[in-house]
Symmetry: C3
Subunit: 272 residues, 3 copies
């Protein structure tokens, strides 16, 4: 895979490192690689835990590549769930018979936040971790239905602040809200996650899989709501106001290694 490098400390423990310069955008190729990875996780008899890391300390996953060719995106064949591949990747990862951990250094926004929310657990660097769903600030409805994830993690009130407010959340507030499991000092997070992953990898796979299946039974939203969000996202992007906001943000630095991308939560509410 070109963007995702898989490293295996053991056959039970996979580490997926994401690198898509300049700012780790999620593009159609990323989705294709994630589909292949999730399929491998579903079928491998030995893997028990997968950790998602970023090669870029400023960006875990910046957000969806808004300049991706719209015809290409619309033409992507549905995944095994019958959904558009982005929704497909998210719901299959959440159901996968393996524990998944997002180790968040840098920004996880938009689709990057959605991906982190589809993982079983999330840990973020106290100094470098930033999470947010900036889409509403650009006039778009988040397509991976983070609404359905944050509802269970932080409740409707804080969830609406995240989704409608479209701002950036530091790791400290993300921890307080339940957006992430814990914030950890930047120089300890990798050790912490390695320790947890090594622990999980040392357990019986049947127990991990069976316990997660029972958790899935009481926590996973129905697939239909992800379909609703994908439809709402595509419909929202054709509004003239949304197109104008997107164009203005691109002019100001969106998609580039820029101050605007570093501070996107603030930037979407500035109307210069």
């Amino acid at each position: 895979m070109a963007q995702i490098t898989i490293n295996k400390p053991s056959s039970s423990w996979w580490i997926a490192t994401f690198s898509n310069p300049p700012i780790n955008l999620i593009d159609p190729d990323t989705i294709g690689e994630l589909q292949d990875l999730v399929t491998a996780l579903e079928n491998d008899a030995e893997v028990k835990v997968v950790v998602f890391r970023s090669a870029d300390p400023d960006f875990f996953m910046a957000h969806w590549d808004v300049l991706a060719d719209k015809a290409t995106v619309a033409a992507m064949p549905p995944g095994p769930t019958g959904m558009h591949p982005w929704g497909d990747v998210l719901v299959r990862l959440a159901r996968a018979p393996v524990a998944s951990i997002a180790e968040i250094r840098g920004r996880a926004r938009g689709a990057g936040s959605e991906f982190a929310l589809a993982c079983d657990m999330r840990f973020a660097s106290r100094e470098r971790g930033i999470l947010g769903q900036f889409e509403v600030g650009m006039g778009a409805i988040p397509g991976g239905n983070p609404m359905a994830r944050v509802a269970g993690l932080m409740g409707r009130g804080r969830g609406l602040e995240v989704i409608l407010g479209a701002n950036d959340f530091s790791a400290d507030i993300a921890e307080r809200y339940g957006y992430i499991n814990r914030a950890l000092p930047d120089d300890e997070i990798e050790t912490f996650v390695d320790s947890l992953a090594g622990r999980l990898a040392s357990f019986e796979k049947h127990a991990l899989v069976g316990a997660k299946a029972l958790m899935n039974e009481v926590t996973l939203p129905p697939d239909t709501v992800f379909q609703h969000a994908l439809s709402a996202f595509f419909a929202s992007t054709v509004h003239p106001g949304t197109r104008a906001r997107g164009a203005a943000l691109i002019k100001r630095g969106l998609q580039r290694r820029s101050d605007l991308e570093l501070n996107l939560g603030r930037a979407v509410a500035e109307h210069p």
Copy 2:
């Protein structure tokens, strides 16, 4: 409207200030004004955010006026949902195509807490904010079904402590429990809420409405449970013990600007 003053910094941003001296009780007139306001929010094409404030720094909304004429209350015609107007106001506000923010200075108890819980977001003054559902302490079952709201915000355990314990909760503990989004210093809360509301008012209405609708899909309790709570409330108030407790509390200062109203959570468990 006599009790609620609407101020509009812009056509997208409404501020509703509540004033019903001496202690901001919610009475049948309040409900009528809230019905009209929610209907206006449902139908206005431009409003994106509404902020609820109190003119009294000690009372956001004290609680339901227990001396309101029972025949009048029972005779109030149902709202558009078919429910008693109080339940009707709460469920329509939660579903309304606009972001709603409760800015809580002073006490929000009983129906006042229920109203705050029906808003999309809640922020409280660290020094002045107090929330609670004192009803069980008086022998009554809360009629606006705060049970169904706190379940999703703080979980069953803390929710049962709030509902069954019937005590006052400071803004600090309310924040820790998820009862409110955040506690803010009293001299900063208005600036914080203005900033958030101004931000929301600057976004595209279709994106706010669409994203909230998807959140509603996964977080709103079914209307039926609100009907159950209204019935349980009315049934509970006719118990002799409940009548006796209510009468004793009124004698001790309930409904007046009194020490008892300032410390109602403590007072309901004192049995002098």
Copy 3:
């Protein structure tokens, strides 16, 4: 009852103190006594609140007695819900028309944590309280479906960390995660719980019962998921890896007053 002593400060307020030396294991006799106690709570006209305490400051309830005769356990007749008596006790306690409080000093692990999670409220000693679901670390799926309880208390992400990670959680982190209502200083917890219980005991029973019933309506998982977990637990214990892990832990000190029992969360991931 031999293991559970009931003390009644008043007819409305029961205190159940658990003592099953050496480490407060839950065995078939414990379940029988808990069934009788829950039945009494269901039928008593006056009791409003029950507090669960431990006579051993190091162990609230250690965990299920893994050496209990398997034939005896399998032959235990189902309770009134039709479920195996352990699932039966948990779901009946959660539905019981009385407020229940777990006062956790010492370790509440495995079935002990499941019991605490079935109580309406949980308070733990900051210095002495430790909670955890160590089962997955031994290769077993937790049988009392703590997954369905923690989902609502702390969300899927932290819940999966607790269940799959199988580690010990201090009272401080348990409070931050929502595993417990609050952590309290060890020398204050009994006073705090007594005060809350006395408060509840002074209220109207019909109001407590009615308000809890409305909370049950929106928070209790369906009984079927508890049946699923019991089946998954029994199936998981016959795996060879699970048997081997159990045997090794017993050799190292499981079920005895040992360093291993004091630090079981750490011990299950050590593979000497």
